[in-house]
Structure formats: structure tokens, C-alpha cells
Amino acid sequence: MNAPLKTPLPLAAPTRKAPRLVLPGVAALTSLLKAVVPPLLGILLFIGVWALIATKSEGLPGPVSTWAAALELFANPFYDNGPNDMGIGWNILHSLGRVGIGFGLAALVGIPLGFAIGRFAFLAGMLSPIISLLRPVSPLAWLPIGLLVFEAAGPASIWVIFISSIWPIILNTAAGVASVPQDYLNVARVLKLSEFKVLTRILFPAVLPHLMTGIRLAIGVAWLVIVAAEMLTGGTGLGFWVWDEWNNLNVEHILIAIIIVGLVGLALEQLLLLLAKRFDYAS
């Protein structure tokens, strides 16, 4: 909406009086402090509460011992002592890999399906009862079906990711296609653009912001579900690792896993938000 404004550089006005030169630096510093201090304080408070609870509790390790365990863990993240004993790095990568494949397949199926549903009312009428029925089902309920069909843990957890991330992709794409402004379609009609050009020049760019929302939601759900799915299937991955460390009663590692899951999820979200910003067109 706004034309990109140039932020005034601190040294942009050398003719001004001396005190004016100092001000922008001070302003930048205070705005930095305002941005950094509250979250920092929140984190410190959180760690404080955690430490307090840990001293009163039998089994819960405190921040200090967890930090020590984390340092040890990340000293060698990529060792490999067979399928049930791998470094934390491998476990993260395995989980991410499954999410990537499951989500990728969901995008491959969901995006075209979403476009078709948004463009053709008949298809929407046909598929909407099925989607409405299947969408509220917990993704883990699909795990036995996956195990039955694929007869292996890896593909079964990918299947669960696929089924859980396909709904937001389909629904957001379809909603995006249905809400493309009539003005844009009128332009296409007046120009008599071919269906292919309508798709590539008008529908796809117009739907992209909605599509990005769908993708963001899908990745979020996929990352939530993968930990649970791996707990049930075993083998490798963060979920399996959490369960394994529970069996070893290594609670420090479970806490570390929780923080890692949070951090990776946060990173994925921020990455996609950054990507979405590039495709957000204001008219």
C-alpha cells in the first residue's frame, strides 16, 4: 500500500546542529531495548519458575542440569550406533525429512485439488461432505491404516503427515480461488485469455497468499503430529527419541526434546512467514 519509505540515516543531515546528530543513535538504542528487554525478561522469569519447581520436585531436573546435558548431547550430534542409538542431529533430520516428504506429497495432491474445487462448483459439492467428515479426525487415527497398507513404520508416519497436512492446503487453496476478485476475472474475460493464461497470470498469483497460509498451517500441524506419530512407530526421529529417553528415565533429554521441537517449529513458521511476505500483494 505504502511506497517504500527510506528511513533517515543518522548521518544524513550533517548541516544540523550537534545535539541533533546524537538523537537518532539514542532513539535506535531505546527502540532496541524496548524490543529486547520484555522477551528476555519473560524467558528469565520462565527459567526462574522452572528452577523453583525443580527444587520442590523429585524427578524434574532443573535448568542447570538440563543445560549440562544439552551441552553433552550437542557435542556430538551426528554419531550413529545403529538404528536405535543415533545422535540428536540425526533424529531431528529424520523427523524433518518425514515432515518434508509427507507435506510435499500433500502439497502435490492438495494444491491442484484445491484449485479444482475452487474453480468448479460441482466438484466442490461432490467433495465437501467427504472433506468435512474426514478433516476433524485426529491424524493419529490414520496410523493403523498406514501400518496396514505400507507394512512399515517409516511410510506409515509419512502417511499420517500427508493426511494431516492435506486439509489446510486444500481448504485454503479452494477458498483463495473462490475469493479471487471478480474484477480480475473480468479483465481475463475482456482479454479473452486462454484457460492456461488465466491460471498462470491471474488465478495462481491471486491465490498465492491464501496458499501460503494453507502451507503454513499444514507445516504447523505436520510438525505437531510427527512427534506423536514417531512415539508410536519407533525407529528414529525426535518422537521416538523422547519415548526412548522416557524408558531410560532420562528426563533432562525429554526437556531438551521439548525445547528442540519448539525451536524447530518456530523456525519453520518464521521461514514460511518470510516467504509469504514476498508473495503478499497489496492492490
Binding site: D183, N186, R189, V190, K192, R201, P205
Partner: protein, 263 residues
């Protein structure tokens, strides 16, 4: 008179939840080649519907529409439309928006360089060479509307259809764009059908002003032929008694004969 666009006994109804709504009945109108015709009337009188029927964006319920000897059957690039809200595609630059139209009409017949030349010439004609590679969100409302006009003109349409093209602009920008439009139409000898609710705009630009009765079942109430010499200049016209006579005629129609129903 050469009948370039012809509407015969045209009617249009919409099927709504409350039943059938008859928007237009018995609209008869013929427009000559190179003529500038404005449609004026109170809001809701169906003037935009008439334009959309000529554009082919709507289908007539009754009667027939002919453009250049052929029945109007859906929209097409030979009838360029300038939309009320510019309707530029925000993900393309001004160049991209105009090029999309140029490419559609001339791609088979001309080289890439010629297409580029046409696009640049169209932007130059509306005075926007400097904004060629800007996106619509980086330019003002008046500039967007000019890109819309450039896009429509670049297709070299047989008829230029404009739906309240300056309605959303401030008075000074509107006056400026009206002058630009007068100049461009003078250069290109385009046939123009324009919807407006601005009496001064109608008298300044038109060869004929088609005044619509109030809906429902609106139709052509009266037609004023504006015989002011071209090129027209708004300052000279301000002191021209003929100009004021035409203006009064339109105002009388709108505010005495077709007094707006109490809103």
C-alpha cells in the same frame, strides 16, 4: 449515420431471491464510428448494466446488440473496457499489465520488439513512461486509472467502454484526466461509450449524452446532442453560453423530469 454499435429493444432482468428484477427495458441506441457517447442517470438506473451488455460481460435478456456488423456474443478485446476501480493486476508492473493486453491482441502478428514498442507507446500516451516498471501499489489512484486506460487503448479496440473511470478520483485529478482523455480521443478518433454521473464531465467530453430514466425497468429517457466545436477547452467553455445551455438541459432532465426517488 453509420451505425457502429447498435442496441435494439434491449432488456435485461436479474433473477434475485425476491423474484425477477427488470433492470432495463426497450433500450434503443445507435452509436456512430468515432462518436463519444456518455450514459448519465441517477445511481441504480442501469447505466453500468448497459455498458456491461455492450462489453459482453452480461448477456441481454431481450433484444439484440450489434458491434461492427456482428452480434455481441461475450466479451472480446475489440471492445476495450476501462473499469471503475482500475482492476490492475497487483502482481504485475504497469508494463506487465499493459503488455498482457498487447500480447493477447498482437502476439501472432508482430515481433517481441514491436509488442514492447506498443506497450511503451501506450504508457507514454497516458504520460506514465516514468512509472513503467512500478507496481500498482506504488502509484496514485489517478495513475492507476491512466494505466487502465493505456491497457484498454493499447489493444486498439473498436470501441472504448468506460465505467465511471474517474468516479473515485479527486476533482483536480479528474479534471486533468478528462483533459488527457479529450486529447487522446482527439488523436486516436476512438469510439467511446462512457458511464458517468457527472454532468460537467458529460457535456465536456460527449458528442451525445444519453439520459436514462430511473429504474426499475429503466430505458433511454432523452438524448442531448452536444454540438460544441472540438478541440474543447474547459476554460473557454466556462464562459460559453451554449455549454451552459447543454448543462442546464441535462440538469433539468435529472432533477425535474427524473427526480431521484426519496432515498
Amino acid at each position: 449515420m453509420d451505425k457502429f454499435v447498435e442496441l435494439t429493444q434491449v432488456g435485461k432482468h436479474f433473477d434475485t431471491k425476491k423474484g425477477r428484477f427488470q433492470a432495463l427495458t426497450d433500450v434503443n441506441l445507435s452509436i456512430a464510428k468515432g462518436e463519444f457517447v456518455t450514459l448519465i442517470g441517477h445511481s441504480g438506473c442501469g447505466k453500468s448494466t448497459v455498458l456491461n451488455l455492450i462489453a459482453g460481460l452480461l448477456e441481454a435478456s431481450e433484444g439484440g446488440l450489434i458491434c461492427n456488423g456482428r452480434e455481441i456474443d461475450g466479451p472480446g478485446p475489440e471492445r476495450g473496457v476501462v473499469f471503475q476501480n482500475h482492476s490492475l493486476l497487483p502482481w504485475m508492473t504497469c508494463y506487465g499489465n499493459v503488455y498482457l493486453a498487447v500480447e493477447k491482441v498482437f502476439a501472432g502478428k508482430e515481433s517481441k520488439a514491436q509488442l514492447k514498442e506498443r506497450t511503451e507507446a501506450a504508457l507514454d500516451m497516458v504520460g506514465l513512461s516514468h512509472a513503467t516498471y512500478k507496481h500498482p501499489n506504488e502509484i496514485s489512484g489517478g495513475m492507476k486509472q491512466r494505466v487502465g486506460i493505456a491497457r484498454a487503448l493499447a489493444m486498439q479496440p473498436k470501441v472504448l467502454l468506460m465505467d465511471e473511470p474517474f468516479g473515485a478520483l479527486d476533482a483536480l485529478t479528474r479534471a486533468h484526466l478528462q483533459d488527457e482523455l479529450l486529447r487522446i480521443v482527439g488523436e486516436t478518433h476512438s469510439t467511446v461509450v462512457m458511464v458517468t454521473h457527472d454532468v460537467d464531465e458529460a457535456v465536456l467530453l460527449s458528442d451525445r449524452i444519453v439520459m436514462m430514466t430511473n429504474g426499475p425497468a429503466a430505458t433511454v429517457g432523452d438524448i442531448v446532442k452536444v454540438e460544441l466545436a472540438r478541440p474543447r477547452d474547459r476554460l473557454t467553455l466556462a464562459n460559453d453560453p451554449h455549454y451552459h445551455a447543454y448543462r442546464t438541459a441535462v440538469l433539468e432532465f435529472l432533477y425535474q423530469r427524473q427526480q431521484r426517488p426519496a432515498a
